[in-house]
């Protein structure tokens, strides 16, 4: 039993890295724009399909392909922002943004159905099924790479936020949009670029999801969005580090409970969210904590 628990903890940490890659974009967008991007799930799947096309049709390695899919998703993100989110103003903005992003999700899903059909596909590469043995435990390369990528991406986003002029503009916008405008920050530009970055990061999460999920189709985004929302709420809406910590925490918890009862594991996932929010309503690293950083 002890060995199974250790194995479950390792699984949870590594899979948590994959979920962090998918959740970071969602929380970054909320942090700056104060909107929940319901399309995040389908954007993950779109990222997975882009990797699939490069891998199957152009024989480009999954990780090398990110050099193409990340910029492509950045452009898609900017386009979505300028076409659907930027025009929204006033008190109804948050609700309208939910509706608009849901519409975007449905349109993208329809296009993916049209191009790829509902048939399941999977991203394949030799390192997806290979593993390295450490202290008697098999650690799959794909999860190790994914976890390293999650840490690197979170680090990069932090560097961007705290070591660049653009990052200062982002943080100022996160704290107070009106004040940011008054000191000369082009809030629309900051918001657009942030939305683009949030969607671009999703390309990495999509690739990892496509390689580790066993298969995906255009509908798979719906399975993801509730989990991603739970993760970013637990981590604290707007907190990048919170998304990583919450992903690892929740997936590890779920994985450990899985040893005794797989059926209860998913219940515990959401029960943990409710329990933590009772004591920390802003999440593990909620908005207040983020602003104090």
């Amino acid at each position: 039993m002890g060995r199974l628990i250790y194995e479950a903890i390792i699984d949870g940490i590594l899979i948590g890295g994959v979920y962090a890659l998918m959740a970071v974009g969602l929380t970054l967008i909320f942090g700056v724009l104060d909107i929940i991007n319901i399309a995040q799930g389908i954007l993950v799947i779109l990222g997975a399909y882009l990797s699939y096309v490069l891998s199957v049709h152009l024989h480009i390695d999954l990780f090398v392909g990110l050099l193409i899919t990340v910029p492509a998703m950045f452009v898609i993100g900017i386009t979505i922002y300028w076409a659907f989110i930027r025009p929204l103003r006033g008190h109804e903005r948050t609700g309208m943004a939910l509706l608009a992003s849901y519409a975007v999700a449905i349109v993208i899903e329809g296009i993916l159905y049209w191009i790829f059909t509902p048939n399941y596909v999977q991203l394949r590469a030799p390192y997806v099924t290979a593993s390295v043995r450490v202290f008697g435990f098999y650690l799959p390369y794909i999860y190790l790479y994914g976890f390293a990528l999650a840490l690197a991406l979170v680090g990069l986003i932090y560097l961007m936020l705290y070591r660049t002029k653009f990052g200062r503009s982002v943080r100022a916008t996160m704290q107070d949009q009106v004040a940011a405008r008054l000191i000369g920050i082009d809030v629309n530009r900051v918001a657009g670029l942030t939305f683009g970055i949030g969607v671009a990061v999703t390309a990495v999460g999509g690739m990892m999801y496509g390689a580790t999920s066993g298969g995906f189709n255009p509908n798979s985004g719906y399975d993801l969005i509730s989990r991603l929302l739970a993760i970013v709420i637990l981590g604290g809406l707007g907190s990048i580090a919170g998304a990583l910590v919450a992903s690892v925490f929740m997936l590890t918890l779920e994985s450990v409970v899985n040893v005794w009862s797989p059926e209860w594991a998913i219940v515990v996932f959401y029960a943990a969210l409710a329990l933590v929010l009772i004591f920390r309503p802003a999440g593990l690293l909620g908005r207040q904590a983020v602003r104090e950083q």
């Binding site: 060995r3 199974l4 194995e7 479950a8 699984d11 899979i15 979920y19 659907f84 025009p87 929204l88 103003r89 006033g90 109804e92 903005r93 309208m96 943004a97 509706l99 608009a100 849901y102 519409a103 449905i106 349109v107 899903e109 329809g110 159905y113 059909t117 509902p118 399941y120 596909v121 999977q122 394949r124 030799p126 997806v128 099924t129 290979a130 593993s131 098999y138 799959p140 999801y209 580790t212 999920s213 066993g214 298969g215 995906f216 189709n217 255009p218 509908n219 798979s220 719906y222 399975d223 989990r227 779920e254 994985s255 899985n258 040893v259 009862s261 797989p262 059926e263 594991a265 998913i266």
Partner: protein, 417 residues
């Protein structure tokens, strides 16, 4: 920019979305051109959502049948017209779909949706209107034993009852000489009414035969829930794994996890997934598919004259080869065949159709003969077990049956290990 424009943009986006949904939520078959009023047949199918792959295959099956019937003059001299609504894989929507089909569209007959999760509410709803529900999927005990079906007896399925799917597999394991027979078995099952029951039946049979169960747990049918159970099965070192899987991703995820920890069972059977033809091969690779076993009630090369004709018609209409045809197509097509026989015999009155189908009559379908019990099951004595062997999907059980080849046993190791 004014808030009016903002509203306009958002509402335009919403309208676009609704338009997309509307485009995918209605469909109808051709009604032919005989001048007589058509026989309306209603069905709710999962054209989007979790079951969309199967739902769309079912749609092709229904439409192929309607097209065939209409090309031969229709039924009772009247053309057949399908009214298909999209339930989005939602058990709630399926209820309102059948209510609309019966009370608004006034369909003459109802065909079933895909998945037991949807057939149960569909059966309840159609029973309230005393309509027969002829269905090709969702053949679980939960559906047949519904209180409404025990009262109205309106459910009929020409397809094999789910719980019996893996019985030939279990019997084969029991028939192995003791020296070759697996000693231990693992039964991971997805929480799905289609996936778990056949595995539970296998477990009962193998336990009675002395094969020790080392793992038997139900896990949620969620992507993040697969790796844990898969690792635990691998840690158990079971000789035999019978996976209660509802789809390809579940099997693929287990196979991937097994490869990652260098675990290869002697026998690996799954309730569903490996029957997905090329889609399955694309997901797991030809080499790793070899040795995988799966039950099925029908396959493209099934030696049945009606099936042969349907296969040719399918290829003519949709292209591809016999092995590309999803079993869902045959299951849906056979629903139409049962309905056609009933309508020809007693007309479109549902009470008479229900009475006729319970009369003990044997009907011929692309899935073989259909004869219904009092609860509408078609208890055929056997199903087929298939195994992937070097990229070929081959019938291996029942042993000695026409078309069956030798089973690859033990399963070869994963590629690259």
């Amino acid at each position: 920019m004014s808030s009016y424009r903002a509203r306009f943009v958002s509402l335009a986006a919403a309208a676009l979305a609704v338009g997309v949904v509307a485009c995918t939520s209605s469909s109808s078959g051709s009604a032919g051109n005989t001048g007589k009023s058509p026989i309306l047949i209603g069905a709710s199918l999962s054209l989007t959502g979790d079951f969309s792959a199967d739902g769309q295959a079912f749609q092709r099956g229904y439409e192929l049948w309607a097209s065939d019937v209409n090309s031969h003059g229709g039924l009772l001299g009247r053309p057949v017209k399908l009214v298909i609504l999209n339930d989005g894989s939602s058990p709630t929507t399926v209820v309102s779909d059948y209510q609309k089909l019966i009370s608004v569209d006034h369909v003459n007959l109802t065909f079933g949706p895909f998945s037991s999760l949807l057939t149960a509410p569909a059966a309840n709803t159609t029973a309230r209107y005393r309509y027969a529900l002829i269905m090709g999927a969702g053949t679980t005990d939960d559906v047949f034993h519904l209180a409404s079906n025990r009262q109205v007896h309106n459910v009929f399925s020409p397809s094999l009852p789910v719980k019996d799917y893996l019985v030939p597999f279990a019997n084969w394991i029991v028939s192995l000489p003791p020296s070759e027979r697996p000693k231990t078995a693992a039964y991971p099952m997805a929480n799905d009414p289609f996936a778990a029951p056949p595995v539970q039946v296998v477990q009962q049979i193998l336990q009675r035969a002395g094969i020790r169960t080392v793992y038997s747990k139900v896990f949620p049918a969620e992507v993040s829930a697969y790796k844990g159970p898969a690792d635990q099965v691998a840690a158990s070192g079971a000789d035999l794994v019978v996976l209660g899987s509802p789809d390809i991703p579940t099997v693929s995820a287990f196979m991937q996890a097994f490869q990652q920890v260098h675990y290869n069972p002697k026998v690996f059977a799954a309730a569903s997934g490996p029957d997905g033809g090329q889609e399955f091969l694309n997901a797991v690779g030809v080499g790793n598919a070899t040795g995988m076993m799966v039950p099925n009630g029908w396959y493209g090369s099934y030696a049945n004259p009606l099936s042969h004709i349907m296969v040719q018609e399918y290829i003519a209409k949709y292209g591809g080869t016999a092995s590309d045809i999803n079993t869902d197509v045959a299951e849906a097509y056979s629903v139409g065949e049962v309905a056609a026989d009933a309508v020809k015999a007693v007309g479109t009155n549902n009470a008479k159709i229900i009475k006729y189908l319970h009369s003990g009559v044997t009907l011929n379908t692309v899935q073989g003969p259909a004869r219904f019990t009092s609860l509408g099951e078609n208890p055929r004595p056997a199903s087929f077990i298939f195994q992937w062997q070097n990229g070929h999907y081959l019938q291996v059980l029942p042993a000695g049956a026409p078309g069956s080849v030798k089973i690859l046993f033990p399963k070869p190791n994963w590629i690259g290990q």
